[in-house]
Amino acid sequence: MIAYIADTDATAGSGRAAYTLGPLAAGPTCCEPRPQISVENLTLAYDGRAALKEVSLDIFRGCVTALIGPSGCGKTSFLSSLNRLSDLIPGCEVEGRILFDGQNIHDQLTNVRALRRRVGMIFQRPNPFPLSIRRNLEMPLKEHGVQRRADLDAAVWRSLVDVGLWEEVRDRLDAPALALSGGQQQRLCIARAIALQPDVLLMDEPCSALDPVSSTIVEDLIASLRGGYTIVIATHNLAQARRVANYAGFFWVKDRAGVLIEFDHCQRIFDSPRHELTAAYVSGRRG
């Protein structure tokens, strides 16, 4: 299922023709029409109060999927259910199925630590550990069994090059990571995640705590990662979603629970949304 539209209220524009994946107007060819993650009827509740209700969508391999919607519509909750970070929150209950490469991540057999290695997460506020730049990158690798010095050095170099930080920090790898600027810290966090060679990167408003210049740099970085990683990005910045995403999902709060209103190609969501709430939100009339 590629396009989705909530089976409620009025729909804007023409009927709701089922969509098949055509050539993407904007987007890399490496974007495969195979779902990496399939979310089926996800319902997530905090202390018995639903924050997300019956969300179903497919996240495609190598594509950037943007999640947009007003504050409190459950974007963060949705992201943290994908790597089971929601397990950490007492009183948080998840129902429905999430298939990662076809495997239900809530299976007894799923190794949660391995899942989290393959599904990296970037938070809104950069959160490098109060260690050196090098330790920030090496420590998780060591914990996942990379022990050889040469492998570690190569991974540090590779990930810093990939996020465009190598030239900036090559002389001070042993300096504290917290001495970096906010934008550099966020890129370091992305480097830390991709050093583990994940398949998926979850990004929760990765630019919203950054100044405009850093924000542009990080956004360009996300665009450059497209194709190599499956990226799910929650953002309030519609222009940004439009620039980087291949797909977009629009969430809305209904009866105090977040629901997915529409999911489609990014262009379609912004240029010819079929649900009137989507149309109102992307044109800035509501939200």
Partner: protein, 292 residues
């Protein structure tokens, strides 16, 4: 207009008064500290000027009535007991802080935290009583007499473990959630998260707790008098009865006169200097928060 002027000026007058009160209190407490140090200096001055600082360290014995003022055996007993207690209490205290936050089921963790807080408030004379009736006889069964450096170390450990546990716990609690969540999101295990992220991030607070605990151990008197035997000798074995610097002051002050009395003030001055150094280091470390 007038109304708002009046209310703002009355508020600023109130503010001024509040600032004055706070400043007076602050100045008052630092003045008391300066007074105490000045008083110690004044009272120990006769001994420092006539006997000289070196002899307090190098005289072969402590026989103040015969002109021998060697504080070294008692200083080394104090240091040995404090260092020993810190060595035992640090792993216990840090482990207890970690246990009740990350491993214990909530009710047990809660009870554990409360008992640590209560233990830190038990009067030292009561802990001394317990040491005298429980620990000293126990040690005496293996190595008589029982009242010994080891008994002192164990008693001090009981007294300072809560300090380390509470300070380390506070340091762990003050860490931003983002560290723990970030570590878990990278697939780190709970142990790795603690060992490589949370504890290093909290190291300033943990170290500050250790130093404050060391200062408390150095300054402890009552319980130590009760369990460590009070024989003036350099500790050569854990089972030797020893006398700490603090105990010496408490035991002899009542009858000391002249240069004997003044040299007790010298030992008070020494203790104060040590404790100030430790507290200053602790203060620097705890101010040196590595997280934003």
């Amino acid at each position: 207009m007038t109304l708002s002027n009046r209310s703002s000026s009355s508020r600023s007058r109130r503010d001024t008064r509040l600032v004055a009160a706070v400043a007076t209190a602050a100045l008052g407490s630092s003045a008391i500290f300066v007074l105490i140090v000045g008083f110690l200096l004044k009272e120990s001055w006769p001994a420092l000027s006539t006997i000289g600082p070196a002899r307090f360290l190098f005289d072969p014995a402590w026989r103040p009535t015969e002109g021998l003022f060697g504080l070294a055996p008692m200083l080394s007993a104090s240091l040995a007991a404090s260092v020993g207690a810190v060595i035992l209490a640090t792993p216990l205290g840090v482990a207890s802080a970690i246990f009740c936050r990350h491993y214990a089921p909530p009710p047990i963790g809660w009870i554990h935290r409360w008992s640590m807080a209560l233990l830190s408030g038990v009067p030292s004379v009561v802990i001394g009583l317990w040491g005298l009736t429980a620990i000293v006889p126990l040690i005496g069964r293996f190595e008589p007499p029982g009242a010994s450096l080891l008994a002192g170390i164990l008693i001090l450990t009981v007294m300072i473990t809560p300090t380390i546990a509470l300070m380390s716990g506070a340091a762990l609690d003050s860490l931003p959630d983002a560290y723990g969540r970030g570590a878990v999101a990278l697939g780190l295990s709970r142990e790795a998260t603690l060992a490589h992220v949370l504890l290093p991030a909290a190291r300033g607070g943990v170290a500050a707790g250790i130093l404050l605990a060391a200062a408390r151990a150095l300054g402890e008197t009552m319980a130590i008098v009760m369990v460590s035997g009070n024989v003036v000798q350099a500790p050569l074995s854990l089972f030797d009865p020893v006398r700490m610097l603090t105990a010496n002051i408490a035991l002899e002050m009542a009858y000391a006169t002249g240069s004997h009395r003044a040299s007790l003030f010298v030992s008070g001055l020494m203790l104060t200097a040590l404790v100030i150094a430790l507290a200053a280091a602790a203060w620097r470390l705890s101010g040196d928060h590595c997280h934003g």
